[in-house]
Every structure is written in structure tokens, then in C-alpha cells.
Amino acid sequence: MLIFELSRPGRRSAQLAPAIRENTDDIPERARRVQPPLLPEVSELDAVRHYTRLSQRNFSIDTQFYPLGSCTMKYNPRAAHALAMLPEFLARHPLAPEATGQGFLACLHELQEMLAEITGMAAVSLTPMAGAQGEFAGVAMIRAYHGARGDHARNEIIVPDAAHGTNPASATVCGFKVREVPTTAEGNVDLGALAAAVGPQTAGLMLTNPSTLGVFEAGIVEIQRIVHAAGGLTYYDGANLNAILGKVRPGDMGFDAIHMNLHKTFSTPHGGGGPGAGAVGVSERLAAYLPVPLLGREGGLYRWIGERERPQSIGRLSAFMGNAGVLLRAWVYARMLGREGMARVADFSTLNANYLMARLARIGLPPFFPARRASHEFVVSLKPLKDETGVSAMDVAKCLLDKGFHAPTTYFPALVPECLLIEPTETESKQTLDAFADALAEILDLARRDPQRVKGSPWTLPVRRLDDVRAAREPDLAWNG
């Protein structure tokens, strides 16, 4: 039932209304609203009960194993939530004088510095509000760099075909043409094709490493050499940073820019679709272009650095300071892990992925790249199963839901047919991975014995499979009474 269907005209939550006399006679008639908006009229209990019950209709990390590849669904520490919600932090107005928020700013500044150390970059800006905005900032800085050198012909960004959709989309939003390069059978960027693709029109390349195929890019040095030699810059999509924390640093490897998904690697919550935080780091040569505001420290005082002091900046990407509250959570996480804990993340997320990969191989689900190590995630293809039984990757995914596991990412990366991209993360135990592998084994077995049963799943959730075609053909996007 929708909250609107619980509504009754005149129902009120009087305790939530201010006790201040209305006084709007100065607002001219013609500017006023006539018809009140269609908001539900419910009691506080109605609302609490409705949304509490709705929440129970979700899978989440707190309730299920959630091995969604590329998404790093690890435990979100409750302490980070509690501390970011301290009343003084919640009440901080973004335009309040810096002197009144040194505690808040200290956290952000420390985070900025820690991220520089972790990525090996020369400087970091915290403002991008998610990975895609970080990417945008990165390519905008590449654009600014070439522009500042008068190199206006560089209008192409190279993107491997395995890249996440935001990579090409960000390049386009930033006014670039996108050129795709293919992937080899081993899961690496095709170096020959890349060499053929670069030229005076090349502004840069966006590389995800470990790639979305779950493997460490074998040609990572050569790729950069090729792009740099052609006069382009290199961008590192750091969404998969979880796999390399404390092992390799994109800055050390020569990358010019990187974004991080703090809502993945730094365990801030996904919240059903955000908010995220997509801090960007850059090499010296791009530092002048970083988006503002940056955090500076002077004479022991933290302060914002804006457009005035950074005239070459690509500018501002949000009205205030990005998703500051998310950054506080990332700070808590980084401080709790510290130098010792950071490398353990890569160790154990990699261990978990390789272990699960081995377990699945044993039940007849070999990895798509059998010769490769998994990074923190890996791809399997259900093409053989589909050919044999008609049961698709989507069917298996839905059947997993019935078994109490969230499904892995399906059909991404698109170049692997019928694929599942599986990322267990370091916070899950061997016992959970075993249970997941056992469930998959049961499903494979069921697919052979009774494929219709699998194809009909899920059976145990609040709804069965939804009519997506109808949803798109006859869009019903808002309740209107």
C-alpha cells in the first residue's frame, strides 16, 4: 500500500507543526499556491509503521550477503554513522565562519591528506559527490590542462570497452568524443588497438584497474607509455581501489588523475542509491585544476580555498562542500583502519574473491578468465548453463534471492555473455562464502532438474518478477490520486 492510500483528509501530526501564527499577508495573491500539494495526511504512527515495514522489503548488507560486483558492499561501521550524526556536526551551516567549525574541517583535511597518501597523488579534492562526478572532474582537468597549453585539438577520450558506463558518459558530458578500445581474451586492454587509437586528437585515457573484469591490468605500464607518448593523460577509475590498498598506488604508477568511490572503498553506506563521495586525486601537473573548494591549513587553522586562490580550477561541482557528511564517515573509517588496517583490506578482499572463485570452479562454475588471479572480484559466465538448460544468468540471480543472498552484478561487463560479477568483500567470512557457494551449487543442480523452477524465481519475495516492459512502455511514475 502506498503512503497516499493511508492518507485521510484532515489527519494531522500536530506535534510536528510549529506553534507560530501564520503571517503571510505580504505575499501577493497571484504568487500564492492555490491547490495544496498531494502529500499524505497521516499520523506519526502511520508514517513510522509504513516506512519501517517498507524497509523490511529490502535486502541490505545488514541483513544479507550482498556480493554485488563493482559495488564493494562491505560492512558499513555503525560508529561512522553515530559520529557523523553528532548534533554539532549536523547543525553546521556550510557558510558559517571557518573558525566555528575547526573540528569538522580538521576531519575533512585529514581525510584529504590520507587519500593523497593512499593513492600516491600530489593533491586531492574532496568535493565530487560520487564516482561519476569524480570522473567528470578528472576529464575536465585533462581538458583544462590541454587547453592551458593551447592544445585544443585533443578532443578524444579513450575508454576500454569493459569500462563502467559512467566513464564514457562522463567524457561525453565533458564535451569529449569517446573512442573505445577492445579487450583481449585474457581480459587486458588490447595494446595493439590502443596504439592504433592514440594520436594528436587523444586527450587522455580512462582506465579501470583492477578492471571491471576483476583482473589486474597486465599492460598497465605499457598503456600509460602509449598514451603519454601520444601526448594524452591517464585517468584511473578508482572504484576498485579496495583491491590495491597499500599494494600499488596509482600515483606511483604514473597516473595523472584518479577518483575514489568513498562509498565503496571507505565503507560509507550506499543508502539505496547514495549519497556517495568521489574524491579526486591528481599528479603535480593537474594540481592547479582541482575542483574547489579545497581545504587548506595555515597557522594551525583550517580554511577553505576557493576560486580566487585557484584561478585555474575547473571550478565548483556542488553548491557547498560536496557530501561533507559522507566524508566524515569516510574519515572515521580511515582513522579506524589506520596504516595497518588499510593493506589488510586488499589482502582479505582478494583472498575472499580468489577463494570463492576456486569454490565455484569446483561446483562447475569456472571463472571466465581461468588463467588469471581474481582481484577483489571475478567474473563467471553462465553461457554454458544457458545453452544446456535455458536458465540464464538473470534466472540464477533471482533464484539466489530466494536463497537469502543478494545477487551478484548481472550482465556487466557486457562483453562477457551471461555473466555474473562477484565481489565478496573482506568483511564476509569463509562460512558465508561457503554458504553462498553451496546455494549456487543447489541452483545449478535445480537448473538441470527443473529449469522452470529456476526461471520462475523468485518465489519467496514480496513480488515475483516484474513486468519491466510495461513499466517502460506505459510509465507510471507518480501517484496522482
Partner: protein
């Protein structure tokens, strides 16, 4: 302290299953020359108790001042229920609802959010959020430019939030879009829409801020009509709380109303939190639906004909359309959407009206008190909503500094962005302020001016 559950026995058994000697061996595909030494400059780990104590002491040092700053981020009472529910693990720790059957909670909530925002703004459709109000304005402009193929000029009022204008510029600049600023009239603080020149005929859109950055209520009808007259789309940029009192953009003007509405729904249950996360919203009329960026939830049925909710119209999005997507947005502000939806459900239409009206009343009362202070005067006479530009007899910066010493955040200094205003302050009193607070403000301001 990496929240890792592995016991030594687990690690042994796992390596054995993998057939690897050590965890280190799993990294053997990384070229040796690339390996880094460690992260020596990171601080040492802290346990939960230590980080709690540090964070609490920082919070306490920051303290809580009496806040009269608005300027795009507003302090309102947040019902306790909002975050106690939004913070539940099932909302807090779920991903974007890709697996619809396992995400009906988030999906239905988003559908409810879309419904609320569409109705509030008078539009046909809403997405499930973009980042913040400023990036929402940029997305709105990009929508208009795409819709009006060819036209790459957009008219923006100088009385739109300066930080919104700068953000828009950063985001749309690379696409060769020309932003033309519409001046405001010194006497009224409003934009003269009728004066939009014939030369602007090729504009894709006209942005209308309601209320504008000075808190002043614009003639949104004239703006919308003029936009349509010159063949442009009308984009409304609104504090959605104001729309509890003011005409919804979808009804502006003498025709079909504004075409797109954008803004920040932060006033709906979302804490100030130093600048974010907030809640960019974006709604539009039916013909623009396929230009709308971001997640959209649709109501549909399942195999048994039962009602259910799912992400829809995904062919617009980056994960399907890649370089041809309507936007690069992927992760948005999901949890903030949950908070805003719960907030709107709790307060309802009447509650929202009362919050808006009370905030307005408080700012009026504050202005009445300020009238008694020599040299202090509202800069614009016209109607406003809950925020006002105030002229001072001396530089705002120093005055604000003195007020801070009395524990009061006195407002936002306008002279940086609008030097033409002289010594000026943007001040906002919401429903959170009592009569005594207003007195305190007036006294502190008088004192700051007198010393």
C-alpha cells in the same frame, strides 16, 4: 581494524582451496616494480572508543551557535522519526535497487518521493534525485539544451544563488553552452523578465529562481510567459519548501507552466551537515521525460499481476547508453531521498504549509525588530519568502565576526558576490527560532554595530 572476520584457520583452509602459498601470492600478477612500500604517512589505527572520543571532542569544540544563515541551506526542525527510520540498516546499507524483487522497500519509497515532488512542483514526473540543488540546475539546463536541439544559449538570472551559477558554469561549460546573466533591478531585487531581448531568441531556456537568492519573490508568471514567447523552455529553480506557499512552477504563466523544476530538497528533513549530503531534485513535464537524467522508478505488475516497483526508462542512463546517456549520474542521493520522503509523510501538506508560513513569519518578525536599529534596513521592499537582504551601516564581515562572539551566526555577507549592494547581509529566521532568539539577534546586531 579492518572489520575482517578471518581466523587463522579460515585463512589456511582458504589458501589451500585456492592452491596458493600465502595471501601475498595472490598479488603475483602485479608487476613487482609497481608495488608500493606501504602507507607510512597514514596515522596508526584507532579503536572505536578512541575515534569516538576524538570526534566527540571535536564536535564539542565546534559547538552550537544560534544560526541565522540561510542562503541555500536551511535549518529546520527534523522530526526524530526521520533519521531513526532512514538510518535502519535496510535503507542505510542497501545498494541502488537493481534487483527489484529484493528492493521493494527502496523502490516504493522512491516512487512515493517522485509522486510528492511532482505534485509539489506541479510537474508530471520526477527522478529519484540528483546530487544537490546546484548540480540539479546544471542538469536542468543540459536537459533543455538537449530538448532544444541547436540552441546552446541559456539565460540565468544574476539573482540565482551565486554558488549555483558557478557550479552550473563548471558543469556545462565544456559542452559549449553559453550562459547569459539577466540582471536584477536595484530597486526591487527582482529580474525584469519582460526586458529579455529579442537577441535572446535563440535561447534554449530561461532559468527562474523562486524565491531568488535575495529571498525576493519573482514574477514567475511573467518569466515563464516571456521564456515561452522567445521559444525557450522555462526552468524553475525553487526551494521546495517555498512551494508550500507559492504557486507551483507547473502552473506558472498563462500557458502550460514551467517545463522543468530543479532545486535542493535539503529543507525536508536533511541536516545542514557542513554542506552535504543534500538532495538535488529534478522534475519535468511529460514531453521532457526522456531527457530526465538519473534513476526513475515506475509502478508495474509482477508475473501474478501484483503491484510492484522497478527502475525504469533505463535506456536514458549511462549503464545502458554509455556515451549517449542523458547524464553520467549513477550513484545519487538515495538515503537523503528516504529522509525527505519520511519527512514529508510525517508533516503532510498542512504541516509543510505551517513550517513555511512560520519561517516566513519569523523572518518578518526579525525584520520588524531590526527596523529599530539605526542604519539597518531591508534592501528590497517587495514580497519575500523567509529570507531577506539587509543593508548595514558598516561592513558585514566585521559585524558578523562580532556577532559570532555572542554565539550568533548573523547571516551571509552579500558584499562578496554583490559588491553593488554595499554593506549587506542575507538573513534567514526559520520556524526553529523563538521570539527570544529574535531579540537576542537584534541585540547582538545593535551591539556589533555600536562598538
Amino acid at each position: 581494524m579492518s572489520f575482517i572476520p578471518h581466523t587463522a584457520a579460515d585463512v589456511g583452509a582458504m589458501l589451500c582451496e585456492i592452491g596458493a602459498e600465502s595471501i601475498e601470492a595472490l598479488f603475483d600478477e602485479i608487476p613487482a616494480g609497481l608495488r608500493c612500500a606501504g602507507l607510512e604517512r597514514l596515522p596508526a589505527a584507532m579503536n572505536e572508543a578512541e575515534v569516538t572520543r576524538l570526534m566527540q571532542s571535536r564536535a564539542r569544540a565546534d559547538g552550537l551557535a544560534l544560526n541565522f544563515i540561510g542562503a541555500g541551506a536551511y535549518e529546520h526542525h527534523i522530526p526524530a522519526a526521520v533519521w531513526q527510520i532512514a538510518g535502519r540498516g535496510e535503507f542505510y546499507t542497501s545498494y541502488t535497487p537493481y534487483q527489484a524483487e529484493a528492493s521493494q522497500g527502496t523502490l516504493q519509497l522512491l516512487y512515493e518521493f517522485q509522486s510528492m515532488m511532482a505534485s509539489l512542483t506541479g510537474m508530471d514526473a520526477s527522478n529519484a534525485s540528483v546530487y544537490d540543488g546546484a548540480s540539479a540546475a546544471a542538469e536542468a539546463i543540459l536537459m533543455a539544451v538537449r530538448a532544444k536541439r541547436g540552441a546552446r544559449r541559456v539565460l540565468i538570472p544574476a539573482a540565482l544563488h551565486p554558488l549555483y551559477r558557478r557550479t552550473v558554469r563548471s558543469i556545462v561549460a565544456a559542452q559549449g553552452i553559453e550562459l547569459v546573466e539577466l540582471p536584477w533591478e536595484a530597486a526591487s531585487g527582482t529580474t525584469n523578465w519582460k526586458a529579455i531581448a529579442a537577441g535572446a531568441q535563440e535561447a534554449a531556456a530561461v532559468v527562474v529562481a523562486q524565491p531568488n537568492f535575495f529571498g525576493v519573490i519573482e514574477d514567475a508568471d511573467a518569466a515563464t510567459d516571456r521564456a515561452h514567447e522567445i521559444g525557450a523552455l522555462a526552468i524553475a529553480a525553487c526551494n521546495p519548501l517555498a512551494l508550500a506557499l507559492l504557486a507551483p512552477p507547473g502552473r506558472w504563466g498563462s500557458g502550460a507552466g514551467a517545463d522543468i523544476c530543479c532545486g535542493d530538497a535539503q529543507p525536508f528533513g536533511i541536516p545542514l551537515s557542513g554542506g552535504g549530503p543534500y538532495l538535488g531534485y529534478l522534475t519535468c513535464k511529460q514531453p521532457l521525460l526522456r531527457q530526465l537524467p538519473g534513476r526513475i522508478v515506475g509502478r508495474t505488475v509482477d508475473l501474478d499481476g501484483k503491484t510492484g516497483y522497478t527502475l525504469t526508462l533505463q535506456a536514458r542512463e549511462q549503464h545502458i547508453r554509455r556515451a549517449k546517456a542523458t547524464s553520467n549520474i549513477c550513484t545519487n542521493q538515495g538515503l537523503m531521498t528516504a529522509a525527505a520522503t519520511i519527512h514529508l509523510a510525517l508533516v503532510g501538506a498542512e504541516g509543510l504549509h505551517r513550517i513555511a508560513a512560520a519561517s516566513h513569519a519569523r523572518t518578518r518578525e526579525l525584520c520588524a525588530r531590526l527596523a529599530a536599529i539605526p542604519g539597518v534596513r531591508p534592501l528590497f521592499p517587495g514580497p519575500f519568502f523567509h529570507e531577506r537582504a539587509i543593508g548595514l551601516p558598516r561592513p558585514a564581515a566585521g559585524v558578523l565576526e562580532r556577532m559570532v562572539r555572542n554565539g550568533i551566526l548573523g547571516g551571509h555577507d552579500l558584499s562578496q558576490d554583490y559588491p553593488e549592494l554595499g554593506h549587506a547581509l542575507l538573513v534567514c529566521a526559520t520556524e526553529t527560532k523563538t521570539g527570544a532568539d529574535l531579540d537576542r539577534y537584534a541585540e547582538a546586531l545593535a551591539e556589533a554595530l555600536s562598538c
